[in-house]
Amino acid sequence: MSRTVAALLRKELLVELRTLESVPAMSLFAVTTFVVFHFALNRSVVDGDLAAGILWVTLLFAAILGVNRLFVADADQGGFDAFLLAPVDRTAMLVAKVITLLAYLVVLELVAVPAFALLLLGPSIGDALPDLIGVLALGDLGVAVIGTLVAALAVRTRARDLLGPLLGLPLLVPIVIGGARATSPLLASVHPTAPAARWLLTLGLYDLVFGLIAYALFDFLLED
């Protein structure tokens, strides 16, 4: 299992490194969205609730771009067929894709969070950074799991570009609730505080439950 996952992961990252199809687009989209938010809200600096909201909405929509492309090569160029021919556990593909998407999201945030701090954020990000990384990591895990499940559901339908976001966004609403509420006190301009434990707990539980759901159901999406 772990060798299969490693092989699949290597293939995914190699393909992404050679084609650069998803990650640069996601990062560029995030930075552009910050510019759009600046003009749409007519604000030069943001903090607190607004900052957390902008950050999470931007990351979410950028993640949707990656989710939409996640299985396209496998569906169009026979990756699924080749994988099904191999005598390996199908869960390996789920794990490999979740890790791939997680890696995309981490790279996205390495670009987007500094850009956000530079372009829009009022208070300095330095003190908030360790907590923010924790919140983002929990959120990313959920986005990666749900994104992979939704991408696998949508990719072999006729309207995959539409169905991915339509299926994914409602499922990701609890992640946005938990993520934004946990981030907002971190980015407050006066008396920034650590996030309330219940939001981290919500995020963690949601990740866990959807991890189990994806584990139970993913095999059924890979049968033909």
């Binding site: 299926l167 609403v173 759901i213 059924f220």
Partner: protein, 258 residues
């Protein structure tokens, strides 16, 4: 065989509905604060509860489909979700009317139940587009079941997350019967039972209609002496259609034919 019990169920539903409505209008006392407007509670809350239970029921039926691969479970899951969507529209509209009447706005974000219901409804609104976008009937059924199970698990999780997110705890007049006076609680429970019966009857009607149509098609084919092809001229549809003559005996045969 599928119409069996339909008449009794229909009569029971009409009787329960009549009883519930007469209790609502002639027995239940007027609410001290909201007056006559509060009566919509006996319509709105049962609609919402039945719709949510129907979504979860759809998930359970989808589990049965994935375990047995019998397309009839997929059909039942589809019908359960389809009816719940219709009930959900009713719940959203009545909830909106109630909110306008008692709070003065058509929509209030401070009521977590209403907000969670909207999110769940938005998710399930993609069920039919998902089915419609997959042409192969077997894969359509399988993917729809995966969706139904995921979404069914999402229903309680989402309610918890949104409840947690509401800034203050709204006074819970909805849903719990414990703080209702006796006559109101009785009326509410009868309304809930009547609504559940209505849901069951409508589901049964839809299932019967689908089976009758499949049987009719099979008979017409046989009459015209056509080869009973399972795939030809099947109109693309979000709703599952049973293969002609899909009874227990021929089920395995038609599945291997696919």
């Amino acid at each position: 065989m599928y119409g069996k019990g339909l008449r009794a169920l229909s009569i029971a539903t009409v009787a329960a509905m009549a009883l519930a409505l007469s209790l609502v209008f002639f027995y239940a006392p007027l609410d001290a604060e909201q007056g006559f407007l509060q009566k919509i509670f006996y319509l709105h809350v049962p609609l919402a509860i039945v719709a949510l239970c129907g979504f979860v029921l759809g998930a359970l039926l989808a589990i049965a489909h994935l375990r047995t691969r019998d397309p009839r479970w997929d059909m039942r899951s589809y019908v359960a979700i389809h009816m719940s969507l219709i009930f959900g529209v009713g719940a959203l509209i009545t909830g909106s009317i109630w909110a306008k009447g008692s709070w003065g706005h058509w929509w209030v974000w401070s009521e977590p139940t209403l907000v969670s219901f909207l999110i769940v409804f938005l998710l399930y609104a993609t069920y039919q587009p998902l089915r419609f976008a997959i042409e192969d009937p077997e894969r359509q059924a399988r993917y729809a079941s995966v969706f139904a199970i995921t979404a069914g698990a999402f229903v309680p999780l989402n309610f918890m997350a949104v409840r947690l997110a509401s800034a203050y705890v709204h006074p819970r007049v909805l849903g719990s019967t414990s703080n209702l006076p006796g006559p109101m609680a009785l009326t509410f429970l009868v309304s809930l039972a009547a609504m559940a019966l209505l849901y069951a009857t409508l589901c049964k009607f839809e299932l019967t209609a689908k089976h009758t149509r499949a049987q009719l098609r099979a008979l017409r084919r046989r009459l015209l002496g056509e080869i009973p092809d399972t795939q030809a001229r099947r109109p693309r549809s979000a709703a599952p259609t049973l293969q002609p003559g899909a009874t227990v005996g021929t089920q395995a045969a038609s599945r291997t034919a696919l």
